[in-house]
Symmetry: C2
Subunit: 423 residues, 2 copies
């Protein structure tokens, strides 16, 4: 067959498997797999992989090895019994190799009462499939498998090796998942992560640093409130300075890849606040937690120091805070930005395959949230992401757009054919 | 003996019992008795009472009866198995009767790491005895007992009945404690509550209403923060309006009894704030809890409406809050102010006895926190409070001043002699 005919044949084969693909996504969404509890989902993925002539291995992360690697993020749950699944197709030789990577772990669906749909129900309503992980990223993980299956079932022999990775721990930073797989030697000439990236091709994401800021007041019974110092009120200068620094960075920090859709490259903001423990006791301490993101070219150290300096400067303007300075800590997730050279042949191949499969322009984008693609750079691998259209990711009533799941599978199949080559 | 000699004899007898009294306070402080877990402390009190020729009864509150009473505050813990102890001395006749009331329940010592001393250690350091409840109000409860014991051990026969009440549930509003005792018929011609009122005589306290205010924002991943609405930031106009209303009320709401020591009659303030649940997710909701206090002459309904109106008016000035108005709820403690006519003969007797016992002026005061004395008014009883000097009440390292515990006992003994009469 001619290339064009082969690609069309596989494209049609994917379309014909529509119901089978979506049913597999639903099966996987129905398996709760929050970080730390991924193994039932991983068994499902391993069973799928064993339907194809792949060599399937399981890999339990080794914390001692991993914590020495740059970019490692320690997760909240020990690794014992939590395995990554790696399934490799040996090519016939002479082509480039490719990893199709996806994570099966999801974030908590709490608060449950915010959901209209059962987070583990995989309910279909119109073009949308609802559930925790439907978009982020069980649909992409299933698309990886069916892209390869559609090629192999058509009797096509690929030249390059293809490796399917179903990993754990991405939502906790990826240290025990993709980083563990790459560090164990499961690398290739390129890697795709099928995050829910709206059928675009992503080649960059921000770095992020989580912080906690504590402010101390002076507690008392509220019947003496005017003789005490409310930590809630004293937190406000800090919140204001964060708002101002966010606005300043929005004006001055620009990276073209990040600005196409929402005209912003980075964010600084607060997610939580906790203060006090009784309505009638003036809060003696208050604590906020938030995240600052930064673009390729900025260093985490400089960004962190800028935030600390601004909070310090705000404190100097307040009599109480000058004597009781806010304490800034860097907690949990601390990740570097990721930037993939757009001129790499893999990126070009991927983008053109996507455009041809979708019949519409595909843009190179940067993303506002980190994903496992950043680990590829440490191993000298080009990487890029694509994936379906999704909404309410990490929120209530998360959904994935069903036609875009099929389209993602087609994009992946076409990319495999062109990048790996075939006979 | 002449009156003067009898009183001096009892005064000296109390002094002579210094170590015994303080050791009893320490024993009681060492028994943790947070609201709902009062029974070990109550057994200790009942055993003490049985050392005197008193009729001792236990009274388990009946929620069904109590909730129909005005002023009832439902507590957080069911009443089953939680008993009040009531010990009555029958007088020889012809005198006025008196209740000496105290509560054995205390508030939680959390956060424990804020304490220098063990909250249940009853450590003495200089003139201070440290521990949760040392001031509020185990010392007063013990003083009640030893005032009566010092009289009876001196062989003095009182004309009027004296009732000792060791009650539960005061910190939760008093519904299951003092209110239950009075409603069961254990009333008298006057009542003293021995709260830690710095050796003054208190005849009024503020009313208080606890509130919760919720603000809704629009949540999102923080990577889209500028398209979302932070509930933490939207809470600030509410906090500001509370601050302004507090300042306005400080200027305009005055009651002479409340202003002697700290020049303030009432307070409006916030104790707690909770918002968001992940550092990298813009908080979709925020909630504050606080308390407004108000003076005799104000009605709770009017004060509550004023707060609601001001919050509403602030919301109208903000585009988002206008469409998503803050929700004000009245939660938990809702108590009325208490005001005892200072010209009542009991108040005069009490104040003069206190001045004579202490050898210094004693002032009539109002207090910024509610106590069980307010229940007396519903039963037509005059009431007043006195008690030792204490600090850090409801906070870490609560303490009571030891000499003032002995002085309180002497004030009480002198008051009993004068009010009840004796032979």
């Amino acid at each position: 067959m001619q290339s064009r005919t082969v690609e069309q044949h596989v494209f049609d084969a994917v379309s014909a498997r529509h119901d089978e693909i979506i049913e597999a996504v639903r099966n996987l969404v129905r398996i709760p797999s929050v970080v730390g509890s991924e193994q039932t989902a991983q068994k499902y993925m391993a069973d799928l992989y064993r339907n194809l002539p792949l060599s399937v291995v399981t890999l339990e992360p080794d914390a001692d090895k991993l914590r020495q690697l740059s970019g490692y993020v320690p997760g909240p749950v020990p690794y014992a019994g939590r395995c990554n699944i790696i399934a490799t197709l040996k090519g016939t030789g002479g082509g480039c190799s490719l990893i199709l990577n996806g994570h099966c772990d999801v974030v908590s669906p709490e608060p449950l009462d915010a959901w209209t749909y059962d987070p583990w129900g995989a309910k279909i309503d119109g073009d949308r499939l609802y559930g925790r992980g439907a978009g982020d990223m069980k649909a992409g993980l299933i698309a990886n498998f069916f892209a390869l299956k559609s090629i192999l079932d058509a009797g096509i022999a690929l030249n390059g090796d293809v490796t399917l990775q179903s990993v754990i721990d991405e939502e906790a930073g990826g240290g025990g998942g993709t980083l563990a797989c790459l560090n164990a030697g499961y690398t290739a000439d390129a890697m795709i992560c099928t995050e829910p990236h709206s059928l675009q091709v992503s080649i960059a994401h921000v770095g992020a640093a989580f912080f906690r800021i504590r402010v101390t007041g002076r507690s008392s019974h509220i019947g003496q409130a005017h003789l005490s110092v409310s930590a809630i009120e004293k937190m406000y200068p800090v919140i204001q300075v964060i708002r101002q620094l966010d606005e300043e960075r929005a004006r001055t920090v620009h990276h073209p890849l990040f600005e196409r859709t929402i005209n912003r490259s980075c964010h600084l903001g607060i997610g939580t606040m906790r203060a006090g423990d009784w309505p009638a006791t003036v809060a003696g301490s208050a604590e906020i937690e938030g995240r600052i993101s930064f673009i390729p070219g900025e260093t985490r150290e400089a960004v962190q120091k800028k935030l600390e300096d601004e909070v310090h400067a705000a404190a100097m303007k307040d009599h109480w805070l000058r004597a009781h300075p806010p304490v800034v800590e860097w907690i949990g997730v601390q990740t570097e930005p990721w930037y993939q050279d757009p001129d790499h042949p893999f990126v070009q191949t991927f983008r053109h395959a996507a455009q041809d499969a979708l019949g519409q322009p595909v843009f190179l984008e940067g993303r506002k949230a980190a994903c496992d693609a950043r680990f590829a750079a440490s191993f000298g691998m080009p990487a890029a992401c694509t994936g379906p259209i999704a909404g309410n990711v990490h929120g209530a009533d998360e959904w994935v757009d069903i036609p875009s799941v099929i389209a993602t599978t087609q994009v992946l199949a076409k990319t495999i054919l062109r990048w790996c080559g075939y006979k």
